[in-house]
């Protein structure tokens, strides 16, 4: 992986935005909701903290030892949340957010249990060459885009990034979902379903 490659930049940006969101949330919980200017300063501080080398390796690159990449929908979610805290434009609408969580939960449920050894079939292999994965995600992307859903555009970026080898992985699954996204998406998606059933059940 070369310096300033997409994978390298994302390995710095995503943890820095994650730290920024964590600090922002902590400040809000403490009763000091940061102003947009203070939020900007928090973001700069987060980028600085994650990129300062300690014994030759930045904290962001140390974290990259544990997670080789972040999926594009997760990057979109974290950029959306960061823009929101900075008082920037709304990247994703609330209904679209729900779809992002459902996507992460559904794709992760299809992938992870089987890929980690549950059964004989390994769906992860389907991400290296043309397979039902490409057909399914291609059609989903087209339908979502046709409905004006921004998850469709993010999936278009994901397939383009896969062709350009934008992440360290060469497997298409890693552009669609990652474990961190999945672990956050499952409770979020379940919460969304519970709220929906609560509304429709009465």
């Amino acid at each position: 992986m070369t310096l300033f490659s997409g994978a390298y930049l994302l390995s710095l940006l995503v943890p820095a935005l994650g730290l920024f969101l964590g600090l922002h949330q902590a400040a809000s919980w403490a009763g000091h909701r940061p102003t947009p200017v203070a939020s900007g300063l928090l973001l700069v501080a987060s980028l600085f903290l994650l990129s300062v080398p300690i014994e030759g390796l930045s904290v962001a690159r140390r974290l990259a030892g544990f997670a080789p990449g972040f999926s594009l929908p997760f990057v979109a979610l974290i950029v959306h949340a960061s823009l929101n805290r900075l008082g920037g434009p709304e990247l994703l609408r609330p209904t679209e957010l729900t779809a992002f969580w459902r996507w992460g939960a559904l794709v992760g449920l299809i992938l992870y249990p089987a890929a980690l050894g549950w059964g004989r079939v390994d769906p992860y292999t389907a991400g290296w060459h043309f397979s039902a994965l490409f057909v399914g995600v291609g059609l989903s992307t087209a339908i979502l885009m046709g409905r004006g859903h921004r998850l469709g555009w993010v999936l278009l970026i994901a397939i383009a990034a896969w062709h350009l080898r934008g992440l360290e992985s060469t497997n298409y699954w890693d552009y669609l979902v990652d474990p961190l996204y999945f672990l956050i998406a499952v409770p979020r998606a379940l919460m969304g379903l519970r709220l929906r059933s609560g509304r429709t059940g009465r």
Partner: protein, 383 residues
């Protein structure tokens, strides 16, 4: 049509096109990979005088383990193993040495956690299992395990290559083979070369499941330089030794991962695309590493701990019928309460068989013999 609808239309067309594009190489794909298997030569070594010699390799480390061998040039052997204060310690290094007519060279560390961190540009806490293999044209590949967090289940595989017989090495490259934080793929045994170039490397998972996989490395025609496929899942058997029988047929002998203390066997008849369910061979396995190879005369040779508990002996066995039945051969070594483990087998171009193994965790022992010696001992071997 307004401009927004136009952009959406272009986006949909691009999405469909980009998802369909991988179909083009898929449709044009050459026949799948085929194992490269040298023709058998029944007479090889049979009329030669028996040869059997033993050598000790060590790096002066308190603990050494997991040796592998390759033949980068005719008459030149190379070995790699890891050593440090103890297994899994942060000071572990992967060592490399070569053997020519004058004997073994001084072992040199090829990679440590510190050098892996520097080369990979991310955190590596420790390194471990390493396997070397050579393409016969002077290029040596070193596949090794790097761990950022946890134990062996936190492993990922990294690759280094040398084009000058191990004097210099390329920087490490991490192979992304697993969707779950890229863990936990490990390697123990050597690969089989493929007819069109590239390798089928037997690797394995040991996180939630313990099962064997194949790493298809640098195979022309495949969409990525490193792809892995699964032989079977679950927690029955892992740490495979891959033996190709012909271009399409191969078998995997696997260490047990279950309470059944048997050596397991699985077969493929389509060059690794599909594998049979693992079956016990009737030979014991004490949750310890094994290796196997195809002898020049077509028989199979297995090195294993012939005990359901412990690793106090190391023994050879031969199969004349592609792994259906096994005839126990000589003990390579045995001593109560001692550990002799992780055998690695190599057949060199001069007809010799080389067996490297961990000797009481303090040295790497290399035993070299020919088929004549093996056959002379088979008849006398205890059952």
């Amino acid at each position: 049509m307004n401009w927004r609808a136009g952009i959406t239309g272009v986006g949909i067309a691009a999405a469909l096109l980009l998802h369909a594009l991988p179909w083009v190489p898929h449709r044009r794909a050459q026949p799948g990979p085929r194992f490269a298997v040298p023709p058998t030569s029944v007479a090889t070594g049979a009329k030669s005088p028996p040869i059997h010699r033993e050598e000790v390799l060590g790096s002066g480390e308190a603990s050494v383990h997991v040796a592998s061998l390759c033949e980068p040039a005719p008459g030149l052997l190379a070995a790699a193993w890891y050593g440090g204060s103890r297994e899994g310690a942060r000071d572990v290094a992967v060592f490399f040495a070569t053997r020519n007519a004058q004997g073994w060279s001084e072992p040199v560390p090829v990679v440590t956690a510190a050098t892996a961190r520097r080369e990979l540009g991310h955190y590596v806490r420790k390194v471990g299992n390493a396997v070397i293999f050579a393409d016969g044209r002077g290029k040596i590949s070193l596949l090794y395990v790097a761990i950022a967090v946890g134990g062996w289940s936190g492993s990922s595989l990294c690759l280094k290559e040398s084009s000058d017989l191990g004097h210099t090495w390329t920087s490490s490259r991490r192979l992304v083979l697993s969707p779950f934080f890229n863990i936990s793929d490990l390697v123990k045994n050597g690969p089989t070369s493929l007819e069109g170039g590239g390798w089928a490397v037997p690797i394995y998972q040991e996180l939630f499941g313990k099962f064997p996989e194949l790493l298809w490395l640098n195979v022309p025609g495949l969409p990525a330089p490193a792809i892995r496929t699964r032989a079977f899942g679950g927690r029955t058997a892992f740490q495979p030794a891959l033996v190709a029988l012909d271009s399409q047929r191969a078998l995997m002998l696997c260490r047990t991962a279950s309470n059944q203390r048997d050596l397991f066997l699985s077969r493929t008849t389509d060059a690794g695309a599909n594998w049979s369910a693992p079956q016990p061979t009737g030979l014991p396995n004490s949750d310890s590493g094994i290796d196997a190879l195809r002898l020049p005369d077509g028989r199979l040779l297995l090195a294993f701990n012939d005990t359901p508990t412990g690793r106090a002996n190391l023994r050879l066995a031969v199969s004349p019928d592609d792994g259906v039945t096994w005839q126990r051969g000589p003990y390579v070594i045995q001593e109560p309460e001692a550990e002799f483990s992780y055998p690695f087998l190599l057949s060199s171009r001069d007809g010799l068989i080389h067996l490297a193994y961990t000797w009481k965790r303090t040295a790497i022992q290399v035993v070299s013999f020919n088929v004549a010696w093996l056959d002379s001992t088979l008849a006398q071997a205890p059952r």
